[in-house]
Structure formats: C-alpha cells, structure tokens
C-alpha cells in the first residue's frame, strides 16, 4: 500500500478522517519509516511553533505605536483610564465606545460634497467654513444651529492651540499651524449613511478620549478661549 506524502503529513497533523487515518496506521505498522516521517513532521511543527512563540505578544512599543502616531486609536484607553471629569460631563456621561480612527485615511472619511478638508503637501488641513469657525467662533457664544460647532479648545503637549469641531456627520480635532489648521484627528465616515445617530455618538466618545490623551491640562474656559483666539489672530497678522 502506498501512502502519498500529503496523506502522511495530513495524518501527522490530525487532519484525516477516521477511515483514512486507520489506513495510514496500517501502513505505518508495515513500514516503520513512515512512522519516522510522521514523527519528523510533528517535531518540525513543534519546533516552528516553539520558535515563533515569543512573537505572540503585544509589545509595548507596538501598543504605543498603535495608540499614537495619529494613525490608530487608543484601543484600550477607554476601559483602562476613566476620562477626566470635564470630559465625562461634556460627553454626557454616556458609555465610551472603544474609539478608533485612522488619520491616514482622511480622504476616505470625508463626505464627497465638501471641500472643507484638503491635502496640502501630504498634510490634511482644514479649509472653508470649518477653518473660519475655528478662527473666530467661540464655543461659549455660538448659536445652537451653527453649521459648524466648535467644542473644546485646549493646548496639546507641544503647546499648539487645538480645537474640536463638528459639522454634520464629520467631527475632528484641528491644531493651529503657522498658516492654518492642521487636522489632528477626524471622525465620521463610511458608517454615517447607515446609522448617522450612532456614528455621531461614538465619534463624540472617540473624540473625547483623544482630547483627553492630547491635551496638556484641562480645556480652556470661555475667557481663556477668547484670549487664545485673539493671540492666534495677532500671530498670523
């Protein structure tokens, strides 16, 4: 009886049905070399698995890279570190969905009909009505039906002035650069037509978590916000 190498390998892997396995076992009983081949297959498998076992981890460096970089989310932060009090209040105390965001995919996440966010030399920047709102609109005095709503104003670890904004199903965090507002985070996107409500809610939770991570100190109050915007305008003039 001849046993194909494929069949012998499948036997070694426990991938044969009982009848086929029985046939291989009878062949092994007749020819011990087949048994040795099975043992070699199993030894190799054990060695490969053992050798690669140290790779089956989530190293800190990777977790950090996933969390920072403006690319992907703080996957675990919402469960681990409760948000600061201000953020909980602002978000209405709702459960925080694990947030996720991919800054690199800015283009895909935008509604097609807006020119509000553009790529400038590979960097996403805010344009149009969102940029105007970020330049001028105070969170404390904006009308309830403002097309662009500004949420929080804060300074990031590098001291840049950053503000959160929302317009329809798109929300984001923009930070002031020399010549305008760079997009630090953007939320919204593909899910919005299916479930705009849920998307908006989870985007807000994600945004709060990210503000919490980015902000150095608490967000500004109305007076500080007014002062920061005035300084920004005089810097740019």
């Amino acid at each position: 009886m001849t046993i194909e190498p494929e069949t012998l390998m499948a036997y070694a892997d426990g991938a044969l049905d009982p009848i086929a396995a029985k046939r291989v076992e009878r062949a092994i009983a007749e020819d011990p070399r087949l048994g040795e081949d099975v043992a070699r297959h199993r030894a190799l498998a054990a060695r490969l698995r053992g050798g690669l076992a140290p790779a089956a981890t989530v190293p800190d460096a990777i977790a950090r890279r996933l969390a920072d970089a403006g690319k992907v989310t703080p996957l675990r932060r919402p469960e681990r570190a409760p948000m600061r009090r201000w953020a909980r209040n602002w978000a209405g105390g709702g459960a925080v969905a694990a947030s996720l965001l991919v800054g690199a995919m800015v283009g895909q996440m935008l509604p097609r009909d807006t020119g509000a966010i553009a790529l400038d030399d590979g960097r996403a920047v805010v344009r149009g009505d969102i940029a105007r709102a970020l330049d001028t609109q105070l969170a404390s005095t904006q009308p309830a039906d403002a097309p662009v709503r500004v949420g929080l104003t804060f300074r990031d670890a590098g001291g840049a002035l950053c503000r959160t904004f929302e317009r329809q199903a798109v929300a984001g965090i923009a930070c002031a650069a020399r010549d305008g507002w760079g997009v630090a985070r953007l939320y919204g996107g593909a899910a919005q037509e299916r479930s705009e409500f849920r998307q908006a809610a989870s985007a807000q939770a994600a945004m709060m978590a990210d503000v919490d991570a980015m902000a150095k100190g608490d967000p500004m109050d109305a007076a500080a916000e007014r002062k920061a915007l005035a300084e920004l305008r005089s810097d740019r003039d």
Partner: protein
C-alpha cells in the same frame, strides 16, 4: 453594544496571533511589526467590510497576507541589490536571548521558502488552521495548499535538521 466596540475588542485579542503570523512571513522583526501595524490600520479602516458573524481571524489573516504580498513584491527589488547582513551574527532584540535566537533561526529558515509555501506553513503549522480554512484564506484549492505544505515542510526539515 455598538458593533465598533466589539470589533476592536475582538481585534485586540487577535493581535498576539497576528504578530506571530507576521513573524512567520516577514524578513525580520522590524518588518513583522510594520506588517502588524499596517494590517491593524487597514482592518480599522475597513471594518465595515467585515460581516459580523463571520470569522474575524480569517478576515484579518487575509488582510495581513495580502499586505505582505504587496510589500514583499516591493522589497524584493531592493533585496536584490542589498544583501542582508548574515542573520547568524545578529542577536534579536526581544526577550530572553535563547528564545530570541531560536526565533531568529526559525524566521531565517522560513525565509528560504518560496512565498506560497511559507504562508501555507505559517497558517497550518504555526497558526493551527485546518487545511480547508487555510485554503480559503489563501483562496486556493485544498490540493494546492497541501502540496505547498508538503514541499515547504520538507525543505524546512532539511534546513533545520531532523533532530529539531
């Protein structure tokens, strides 16, 4: 519970396995971690394309494998001009030294396989997918998978020595 939350939770639990698969495929640890990161990013962007109720692990392995093929194609041209340092001289940077050296040996041995044998071995032998599942991830007939698997394993036995 919102879908996105269970998606990311489930994805997170897969990361150790995905990282091991990346190490089985990639040239070195740094490439493997780049591959891991790129795969997670792509999965997050495309999470709407995943159908809840289907296996997230198979979907993720497919994403990683496709990315790996793309980058392998791009780096092959570079590696034709630059000979990589003899890895036997290098000691890997992670964890216990012995474990790290063995990881390195295994990665080196995997590297000697043609791509399609390497991914077959990685999915079945290392990751423990059934032949049928691995064939589906790779989108090949099961007979193709088993013949790649046999050839890849025979080459590895020679390479790593029978004593294992």
């Amino acid at each position: 519970m919102p879908g996105s939350s269970s998606f990311t939770d489930e994805l997170l639990t897969l990361i150790p396995r995905l990282r091991r698969f990346a190490h089985a495929l990639a040239r070195d640890g740094a490439d493997a971690d780049d591959l891991l990161q790129a795969s997670v990013e792509r999965a997050l962007v495309r999470q709407d394309q995943w159908q809840p109720g289907t296996r997230l692990d198979s979907w993720m392995y497919r994403i990683m494998r496709n990315l790996w093929i793309d980058t392998a194609r791009a780096t092959r041209r570079r590696s034709e001009t630059f000979v990589p340092p003899d890895a036997g001289e290098e000691v890997g940077a992670m964890g216990e030294q012995e474990a790290s050296v063995e990881l390195h040996h295994v990665m080196r041995a995997m590297q000697t396989l043609p791509a399609e044998q390497r991914e077959a071995v990685a999915l079945v032998v290392v990751e423990g997918f059934a032949y049928k599942e691995a064939a589906e991830i790779l989108d090949v007939p099961i007979g193709t998978l088993t013949s790649r698997l046999v050839r890849g394993r025979e080459a590895l036995m020679t390479r790593l020595g029978e004593a294992a």
